[in-house]
């Protein structure tokens, strides 16, 4: 089976001795290409830790993680950085665009790191801006865009380099209900039309309603894994 993410018996502890906290406890999950999955659970259940681990931003205390078939534990820091750049797109709760760059330049940035030629970059920027419905706003800086528009730019940035998977941490948390719903529709379309894999960490019922798989975490353990 072609899994985009596969974790096997992953544990993640923070602290030592009496103050040791188990953030993830024996988590084994497989996510297939093209899924639109949501990791859900109460605060402190391990959602963010899970995304950090499968995003290659943190290392598990024990267990193994494969991303697009590659064991990330065997990668050096530089290889992991390159891997994130080429295979993973991130969408953050508070957008996290580079404030001194325009929307177009923010989207272009990762492709620049990938060494994509100028012409190809500009063509791709126009494409993804159109896909997220931001034609004509490419030259604006983040401060000149609304929250919803900024998060659309973040989505465009995440997908511009055509990653294998997009990890989204509470992407609608800072948006009003209507804007959040519209953004989710954009991401669902991308998932359905382009086959992009999305994994969300969320409390948002709208995301849960649209997701085709819900993974319930509780106290660091997978409590329920339901596919709709």
């Amino acid at each position: 089976m072609n899994y985009v993410i596969e974790t096997q018996h992953v544990h993640r502890f923070f602290g030592e001795g009496e103050v040791r906290v188990s953030a993830l406890n024996d988590v084994s999950i497989r996510i297939e290409r093209g899924e639109f999955s949501a990791i859900i659970g109460p605060s402190g259940s391990g959602k963010t830790t899970f995304l950090q681990l499968v995003g290659g931003l943190d290392n598990p205390t024990s267990g193994r993680i494969w991303l697009s078939g590659a064991n990330i534990a065997e990668m050096t820091g530089r290889e992991l950085s390159d891997f994130r750049r080429d295979h993973i797109g991130f969408i953050f709760q508070s957008y996290n665009l580079i404030p001194v760059l325009s929307a177009e330049e923010n989207i272009e940035y990762v492709m620049l790191l990938q060494g994509v030629s100028v012409n190809k970059r500009h063509k791709r920027v126009r494409e993804v801006l159109s896909l997220v419905g931001l034609e004509g706003l490419g030259d604006r800086r983040p401060a000149q865009l609304s929250g919803g528009q900024q998060q659309r730019v973040a989505v465009a940035r995440a997908m511009a380099s055509s990653p294998d998977i997009i990890l989204a941490d509470e992407p609608t948390a800072n948006l009003d209900s209507a804007t959040g719903a519209a953004l989710l529709d954009v991401m669902r379309e991308l998932n359905e039309d382009q086959g992009m894999t999305f994994v969300f960490s969320t409390h948002d019922q709208k995301i849960m309603d649209r997701a085709n798989r819900l993974i319930h975490l509780h106290d660091g353990k997978v409590e329920q894994d339901e596919t709709k």
């Binding site: 995003g55 530089r78 950085s81 390159d82 709760q93 508070s94 996290n96 001194v100 330049e105 790191l113």
Partner: protein, 405 residues
């Protein structure tokens, strides 16, 4: 290009801080340009004062003469040497001299001194003797005329027209020879040791006084390019230093001035290092503040695939741009300030510097002040960016992004 754009815009996220850092670095550069201009101006004036007043840029003697001013060590046939000098295209002019120690007596007092026998016409191209005349007239070729310094005239209580007697030993047998002279002029070089103890008479009279025929003690030369005086590989030194004849550059017979110049160069280096250290810490501080403000953002940049070396390059690029802006401002301000003081001078008043009287300092504008010094600033800013850049490169995304993912 996007990275340069990003670095440039990052620099102006906090315009006030960037401008303050630019001012710190650029004013350090301005200070250094002015210090360098002042030291170079002072050195030029000092060297000019030494070489143009009397001693010239280089001298030819019989070996051993200069150390003790031994009158018996004279060049008995200067013609071949003078012929070589005339053929040397680097030499602008020369003047032969006889130097003899003796007693100078007036009806009222007596003092010791050095009597220079000079070729009045040739001396015009070598020394400032004629310009230094404050009373009476320059040498005309008359056998009984003598020029004495202002201080000596005060000691002897004589003025132009008064008679004085010079007693000196003949070089061959040591017998005392005496000649009567009439003071034709009084000079003032502004150098105490010269105004106190020197007298100038015509060359042939001096040769006759101590029993020299064609012999002379010294040939003083001036180069077309004064810098050649310090080039011991110059054909003048190569041709002249042979047998018992030696050619010395002004630095050889003015070692104290050479030491002073060396010392003032060290002073420039010390001031430069101090100023640059202050500027370096300013740049490091500014870069760290900028990095700490963007810690979260840099974490995000790393999360989305920016490598450590790429973040390092970004910080270094920001520092280089900061250095370039500072250098442009510093060079423009420094050049105009230095040029202004080069024309109008810095009014320090009159002071004695190693026996040389200087009045104020006119700074000297030099090309390296707007090429080498800014280059040093850029390199230093670059070096000062390395530590903050390494810090930025080592940022762990998960640590710096605790607020979200």
């Amino acid at each position: 290009m996007l990275i340069v754009k990003l670095a440039w815009r990052n620099l102006f996220r906090n315009t006030r801080r960037t401008l303050l850092t630019v001012m710190l670095v650029s004013f350090s550069l301005v200070s250094l340009i002015l210090t360098d201009g002042m030291v170079k101006g002072m050195q030029e004036k000092l060297v000019g004062s030494v070489t143009q007043t009397l001693t010239g840029e280089a001298q030819i003697h019989k070996k051993g003469f200069w150390e003790e001013l031994d009158e018996k060590k004279f060049i008995d046939d200067p013609a071949p040497i003078i012929n070589e000098i005339l053929l040397n295209e680097d030499i602008q002019t020369f003047a032969p001299r006889v130097i003899v120690g003796g007693m100078i007596a007036s009806p009222y007092n007596i003092t010791g001194g050095l009597i220079y026998g000079v070729d009045a016409d040739r001396e015009l191209g070598i020394s400032k003797l004629k310009k230094a005349i404050i009373e009476g007239a320059y040498l005309s070729g008359s056998p009984r005329e003598i020029l004495i310094g202002k201080s000596m005239s005060d000691i002897l209580e004589v003025s132009p027209g008064d008679r004085i007697v010079i007693s000196a030993a003949e070089v061959e047998n040591g017998e005392i020879s005496q000649e009567l002279f009439r003071v034709s002029g009084i000079f003032e070089f502004g150098l105490a040791e010269l105004d106190n103890s020197l007298g100038f008479i015509n060359l042939k009279v001096a040769q006759s006084l101590i029993g020299l025929d064609k012999g002379i003690h010294q040939i003083v030369v001036r180069f077309n390019n004064p810098e050649n005086a310090l080039d011991l590989d110059n054909s003048f030194y190569q041709d002249s230093n042979k047998g018992d004849i030696e050619a010395l550059s002004w630095i050889d017979y003015n070692p104290s001035i050479a030491s002073l110049i060396g010392m003032s160069n060290y002073a420039t280096v010390i001031i430069g290092v101090t100023l640059f250290l202050v500027a370096t810490f300013g740049v490091i501080n500014s870069l760290f503040m900028s990095i700490y403000e963007r810690l979260y953002e840099l974490g995000v940049a790393k999360a989305i695939g920016t490598s450590g070396p790429e973040l390092m390059s970004l910080v270094i690029l920001e520092a280089v741009l900061l250095g370039i802006i500072s250098c442009i401002l510093g060079c423009v301000l420094g050049y105009f300030a230095n040029s202004w003081f080069a024309i109008h001078g810095i009014p320090f008043g009159t002071y004695d510097f190693s026996g040389v009287i200087l009045q104020g300092i006119h700074t000297k504008v030099a090309l390296e002040q707007v090429t080498l010094l800014p280059l040093c600033v850029i390199i230093l800013v670059l070096l000062s960016a390395i530590y903050p850049a390494i810090f930025a490169a080592r940022i762990m995304p998960v640590e710096s992004m605790r607020r979200s993912l």
